[in-house]
Symmetry: C2
Subunit: 204 residues, 2 copies
DNA sequence: AGGAAAAGTTGAACCAATTCTAAAATTGAG
DNA sequence: CTCAATTTTAGAATTGGTTCAACTTTTCCT
């Protein structure tokens, strides 16, 4: 294990991702030519296609890193949530939203979302769907946790509510990245307002 | 008015849309080459680009026809809704979903959605967003109507609830068109289940 | 009718992602 | 150290959407 070949492979992966991240942010997804990414990563075009099936997969790798970080941060909230249904949801969703532009620009998100709906069966499409599902599961886990604590009624349909909340948030996020001038605080406020009716319905 | 030039223009528009609709359904969006659409419509490639800014706009014109039909059909439900909140929502959403595959295949929907997030400022992107907003407004109108009738509490945040319901439905629809094997009845049932908690919260 | 201007049509050329190929370089095993 | 396997490389070929300068057709005016 960990021979020279392995290390070089990992290194090339990293260089490609780093180069792509930088160029995607600078020039946009379309504007970042494969040739330029290859040059910046100091590999040939052929090598890029040896590591990633297509340009979208490179973006996919970056998205996956970002979402996995977010999922990780979300664990903390699910483990010990605020003692109030509205705040608990707001905190978790806040983590998602506040972290969302760390690595990815809005334009990168738009491209990622577009590719995932365009090619749902591609490697990237399936990975993206899995990430969405993981986020849904985390919201469901939060609701289940709140039911255990006794903050949420035990007779409500937790999984359905979790999906409802995720779907609404996700759609709002899609609209958010579609408008460059849209701001995070407004997004959070709008979602909080929408969730209010759900919160009153499911709270004890 | 209605000179030769006008008639030819309308005729070419129609021929292009007809050709594109047929080829998109037969060969898929990507599979339908502009060259083939031009040949089938008996115009040149250049003429297509004179009528539509890009390939996506052709699809956009088809989507707009479909959504406008759906909006029209929805008017009936808003005008005289079923005397029960759950059924009212289910009926309106049912119209949206049942009509959705009349002209457009799932693959065409995927492409349309992808393009609208990819290029939100293009003619197509803006038109698509406007259609989404029109659907949201229709759901809000239904809720307002139900409030008038006294079936929905007057102290709830109607606009926020309408958007919540639309966003959830839309997201479910996106997932639906992403999976070719997904079936309409299951989609409707899942949405009904998610809406249940909202219905109980807003019903008098 | 005649002819100039406006409007529209045409297809060859361009561009960037992707694929393919054959040669060169690198690595690991014996 | 040497050879076979694997990987990288440069560059040519392919492909399909999009652009553009030259050519037609329609309109409109006298």
């Amino acid at each position: 294990m960990s021979g020279l070949r392995e290390r070089q492979k990992a290194d090339r992966h990293r260089r490609i991702i780093d180069a792509a991240t930088e160029l995607f942010r600078e020039a946009g997804y379309e504007g970042a030519k494969i040739e330029a990414i290859a040059a910046q990563a100091e590999v040939s075009i052929g090598t890029i296609y040896n590591y990633y099936q297509n340009k979208g997969d490179i973006l996919g790798a970056i998205v996956a890193m970002e979402v996995n970080e977010v999922l990780n941060a979300g664990q903390g909230v699910v483990g010990s949530p605020p003692a109030n249904v509205g705040d608990a949801l707001d905190t978790l969703i806040g983590i998602y939203i506040e972290h969302s532009l760390n690595y990815l620009s809005k334009e990168m998100w738009r491209q990622a979302m577009a590719i995932s709906t365009q090619l749902p069966d591609s490697a990237f499409g399936q990975a993206y769907t899995a990430l969405d599902r993981a986020l849904t599961e985390q919201i469901r886990a939060l609701i289940a946790r709140l039911q255990e604590i006794g903050l949420v009624r035990s007779d409500i349909d937790g999984p359905a509510v979790g999906e409802l909340i995720f779907n609404n948030m996700n759609m709002m996020f899609i609209e958010f990245v579609k408008r460059d001038e849209a701001k995070i605080p407004e997004l959070r406020a709008a979602i909080r307002r929408q969730n209010r009716v759900v919160v009153t319905a499911i709270g004890v």
